[in-house]
């Protein structure tokens, strides 16, 4: 075989291996994305369409004022998430909440809705008082509670660079 032909053949092999690998990766991605996607929902969304049982969700909104109650066992907290609309969802979380978790503050929780109560195993709160998680900001805008440019509806807003916090069980 001439050198040029051999070279072409070898290059073809390399391309084929590359394509095969991409195929495997695509298959992995497609199967994984099916099972692992988590949808973002607000209390309004949940009222409109009850999620399937066992479906993992991200529930976001504002922590309602005076709604945070520590439970009897000392490690579980119950609170209510609202989005400015008529609907609210009660959430329970077992563990240590992130440092910046506060009433009136934007929050994103991840977990499962069981009998109308959202059992969260992850709570994300931003470590910047002025910052609103993007999904929460969009949801609030949809409800007409908050407009871009207004200060975020949070207690004592001070602009600062921020790193985030999150708590996991």
């Amino acid at each position: 075989m001439s050198k040029a032909k051999l070279k072409k053949k070898r290059r073809l092999y390399a391309v084929l291996i590359g394509m095969g690998l991409l195929g495997v990766a695509t298959a992995l991605v497609l199967t994984a994305i099916e099972d692992t996607l988590v949808f973002f929902r607000t209390p309004t969304d949940i009222a409109a369409e009850t999620p399937a049982p066992d479906q993992r969700l991200r529930l976001g909104g504002l922590v309602a004022k005076d709604s945070v109650e520590p439970q009897e066992d000392g490690i579980t907290t119950r609170f209510v998430i609202e989005d400015g609309g008529p609907h609210v969802v009660a959430v329970t979380y077992t563990g240590v909440l992130p440092d910046l978790f506060r009433e009136g503050q934007g929050v994103v929780t991840e977990g499962v809705l069981i009998n109308g109560v959202f059992r969260a195993d992850e709570v994300l709160a931003k470590h910047d008082e002025n910052y609103m998680p993007k999904e929460v900001a969009d949801a609030l805008k949809e409800q007409g509670v908050w407009q871009e440019g207004e200060p975020a509806p949070s207690p004592n807003a001070l602009p600062s660079a921020s790193y985030g916090g999150k708590a996991t069980q």
Binding site: K3, L6, K7, R10, Y13, A14, I17, G18, L21, L22, A25, L28, V29, T31, A32, I33, D35, T36, L37, V38, F39, F40, R58, P70, D73, G74, I75, T94, G95, V96, L97, D99, L100, V108, E110, L124, K126, H127, D128, N130, Y131, P133, K134, E135, D138, N156, L158, P159, S160, A161, S162, Y163, G164, G165, K166, A167, T168, Q169
Partner: protein, 673 residues
């Protein structure tokens, strides 16, 4: 006055950068030595001006000059000195200034150390560096001026976010930026080579040390960030597949691939066009990372305060840099001389497979990171892609790569035999099988996954050892002669060995911690006892403590092994009054094989306090492994044959010693003219 001086130096640097991005390019095209000399001087001048500018900002922070808006929002007169200094880059404006300072430092370094680079290539590299500088300096001057005054000046500042007042985070951004920006040099070399229409072994030899330096810094920067998240955020995890983490991980994967493909270009003159593309991709991913972190398009747990205007600016910069360089690639790459021939089973073949796996893995991370954006744009559906996705796609792609990692360095260039390879690796195979069996037997849960991960680590470690032993087995067979050879192996061989060993150790740490960590969450009263991983932890109570700029509740948790007290841990909850923020400080007891990690929470009405107690086996191996990887990078960088400016001398130095490592360096082709 000094502040205005800093601002002025910043604007001057922009003007110099504009000159630097045009004149050396013209000089290279017209073969005008004076314009080329201007490029070098401009690179030094830009670095000096940005150095002055950065020094002025640092001065404002150190002296707590509260007439500067940035100092007011990020500093406080009571803050410890270390954090006054790290506060300079603990915010958007200052960190961008550090970014361009490092960029200019690399440009200046190319001008200073590239003495034996062909004049035209060097001019073009400096020109491209100048262009990147113009983009980012414009960004700073127009949207993020760090020197803005605030009048009337307040009496004191608002303090730095308490989470950032931490030694791990003081050094995390500088190393991360050294890595991100270091890749700009590889990018500039790639673009310059495309303009020249020539990529050869010499080109790869010049690119490799810069990539190696960037890779080492990036590795250290990512590890520092992960370490910080582990002990400071207080939830015991070290990697969350968060968009901001992925933003630093993708350039790392691309840089790792580039590091390996550049070897093939250098030694065998093959994979040239792919290597150029990788260099472009690696830096493009760094730019994209900057965009993701600063624009807030993706929800991240670690995000800077974001500003849509800035996001759009960076997106435009990203579009110009990526679009421009890829268009140039599409236009010029077909003209590159195709390179040498090799068999599929060979060192080159192994490195090619390494590149394919790393590139595909990087692509899956990219897809997972950007998927929420795509879904929102296409289907108007808000979704998040979390760790399960990345674990299900990334890990299966890494396993074959790790299996190959042990064998790759032992394969010969051009061709290698599988049977000989397996014969040489038989001891490693036995060790791996033994390790897998032990784990299967010992592990109580997830035994198969744990065995797989540990066996992969042992396999690579055994492979690395086999390779080193084989390289220094002497004919006389005496131990002394063998040891002598071992220590005289080229440093790049040691670099490879340490780099791979570090990865193996990290892999074992990740596997064991992910599968076998245990924790207890409880509401504790003083005197409560908890059993965790064979220890007894006793919650003793909480006492108040004062810090320089915070008040603290300090918990005391005693650790007993049997009846003997082996440690006392003191997790804290700190309250920073200036920012009105509480932070959780974990207390960690690290030994070689495990971490005991404890956090205290708030007190409830009955006087109980939430405590979280974690047993994290092998987590310290993540940090050991990373340090070994970085050491490998640094050692390899110090190899004479790779050192900048040494290729000609190194030819003499390596003559007659070639059997120890890679084939002889070969004559340096006179590139350029």
């Amino acid at each position: 006055m000094i502040v205005e001086f800093g601002h002025f130096a910043l604007i001057l640097a922009l003007v110099v950068a504009i000159g630097q991005s045009v004149l050396p390019m013209v000089g290279a095209a017209r073969r005008d030595v004076r314009l080329a000399a201007f490029g070098r001087q401009a690179a030094h001048a830009q670095f000096a001006l940005l150095g002055l500018s950065f020094a002025a900002l640092t001065y404002a922070f150190v002296t707590s000059d509260f007439s500067v808006a940035l100092v007011v929002s990020n500093s406080h007169s009571l803050k410890p000195m270390l954090y006054k200094i790290s506060g300079v880059w603990g915010n958007h404006e200052g960190s961008m200034l550090l970014w361009v300072l490092i960029l200019a430092a690399f440009g200046s370094a190319v001008a200073a150390f590239g003495r034996n680079l062909p004049e035209s290539l060097k001019s073009r590299v400096i020109g491209v560096q100048g262009m990147i500088g113009v983009g980012f300096l414009l960004f700073i001057v127009l949207t993020s001026n760090p020197f803005e005054r605030m009048l009337p000046a307040p009496l004191d500042g608002r303090d730095l976010n308490p989470l950032l007042q931490d030694p791990g985070l003081a050094f995390h951004p500088p190393f991360l930026y050294l890595g991100y920006v270091g890749l700009s040099v590889a990018f500039s070399f790639a673009v310059a080579a495309l303009i020249e229409g020539k990529v050869d072994a010499a080109w790869a030899r010049w690119v490799r040390p810069w990539t190696l330096a960037a890779w080492s810094s990036l590795t250290l920067g990512i590890a520092l960030g992960s370490w910080w998240a582990y002990y400071e955020l207080g939830w015991g995890g070290w990697w969350f597949w968060d968009p901001v983490e992925n933003a630093s991980f993708m350039p790392w994967l691309a840089a790792t691939a580039l590091l390996h493909s550049a070897i093939v270009v250098e030694k065998r003159d093959a994979l040239k066009s792919w290597t150029v593309l990788l260099a472009i991709i690696a830096f493009s991913l760094s730019l994209m990372g900057t965009f993701i972190v600063r624009s807030g398009v993706l929800t991240s747990v670690h995000a800077f305060a974001v500003d849509p205007e800035r996001g759009v600016f960076i997106l435009i910069l990203l579009g110009i840099a990526v679009g421009g360089s890829l268009a140039l690639y599409a236009w010029r790459a077909p003209d590159l001389q195709p390179g040498g021939l090799f068999r599929p089973i060979s060192r080159e073949g192994g490195l090619l497979i390494n590149n394919l796996f790393l590139a595909v893995a990087c692509a899956t991370v990219l897809l997972g990171t950007l998927y929420p954006l795509i879904a929102e744009a296409v289907a108007d559906e808000k979704i998040s892609v979390g760790p399960p996705f990345f674990n299900a796609t990334f890990i299966p792609l890494m396993i074959p790569l790790i299996i190959l990692m042990a064998a790759g360095p032992m394969m010969g260039w051009k061709r290698a035999g599988i049977s000989g390879l397996l014969h040489r690796l038989r001891a490693a195979l036995v060790a791996t099988a033994a390790a897998a069996l032990v784990v299967l037997f010992v592990a109580e849960t997830d035994a198969i996954a744990a065995a797989l991960g540990v066996a992969a680590g042992v396999w690579v470690l055994a492979g690395v050892t086999t390779d080193l032993v084989h390289r220094c087995r002497s004919r006389e067979g005496t131990l002394g002669a063998g040891l002598n050879r071992l220590f005289n192996l080229p440093r790049s061989v040691w670099g490879t060995a340490l780099g791979h060993a570090g990865v193996a150790i990290v892999v074992m740490g990740i596997t064991v911690d992910s599968l076998m960590s245990t924790d207890i969450i409880a509401a504790a009263e003083p005197g409560d006892r908890f059993e965790l991983a064979g220890r007894t932890l006793v919650y003793e109570g909480v006492e108040p403590k004062m810090g320089p700029n915070y008040m603290s509740e300090r918990g005391v948790i005693s650790v007993y092994k049997g009846d003997e007290k082996i440690a006392e841990l003191d997790p804290e909850r700190r309250f920073y009054p200036v920012q009105g923020m509480t932070t959780t400080e974990a207390a960690i007891r690290s030994t070689v094989f495990e971490d005991l990690y404890v956090v205290i929470g708030e007190q409830d009405e009955q006087g109980r306090r939430t405590v979280r107690l974690h047993h994290n086996p092998l987590v310290p191996w993540l940090w050991f492994g990373t340090i070994i990887m970085v050491l490998g990078g640094v050692l390899s960088l110090s190899d004479r044959r790779l050192r900048v400016g040494a290729p000609i001398r190194s030819k003499k130095a390596t003559t007659g010693k070639t059997e120890g490592g890679a084939p002889p360096a070969g004559a340096q082709p006179e590139a350029g003219d």
